[in-house]
Amino acid sequence: MSESCSCSCGVSCKPLLYACSGAANTGYLSDAVARKIMGNGNGSMTCLAAVGAKLSGFVETAKSSNNIVIDGCPTACGKKIFDTHNLDYKHIILTDFDVQKGKTEITPDLIEKITIKVESKIQGVT
């Protein structure tokens, strides 16, 4: 994690959220949770795929930010992308919250419940 906030020009220092957004139910949940956290004002979503694609603006932004990688399952694609670039991040895996890949139905109630749990894990990441 960055030692200090390096934002300038009045841009907020909210952590950046990268959801794996994979095809499984857990990927869908990662996306929904990240959007909910952003809606709650506790982070800003940006594109994990763009970091994976090595788009320079996204990679350089990640180097200067407090990053939260939300992977749906232990395959941990998000973590692997960040490790490839040697980037700092806090890692969340949603199957750690009693969600089963390919089985658990993703409902609005579940999204809300998991969002609260993830938000408690990322408190203080600024």
Partner: protein
């Protein structure tokens, strides 16, 4: 070479522009230095913090005021 300074026009953006002009001048590089303040254009680069330095469409730094010596390494 096209160099873009991404930012709203805040003091740090201006500092980065000054350092960039210094780096270009000292290195004798021919460069077209442009300022980009439109937020949509800035976001198109995936940049979430400014100022940012873009050289020939590659983002070299985000959220930092690089010194001329550091910028010269990119030229």
């Amino acid at each position: 070479m096209v160099i873009k300074i991404l930012g709203s026009g805040c003091p740090k953006c201006k500092q980065l522009e000054e350092e960039t002009r210094k780096a270009v001048s000292e290195s004798g590089t021919e460069a077209d230095i442009q300022k980009v303040s439109d937020m949509d254009q800035i976001m198109d680069y995936g940049v979430m913090m400014t100022p940012a330095l873009v050289i020939d469409e590659e983002v070299k730094s985000v959220g930092k005021v690089l010194k001329a010596g550091e910028i010269k390494k990119f030229l």
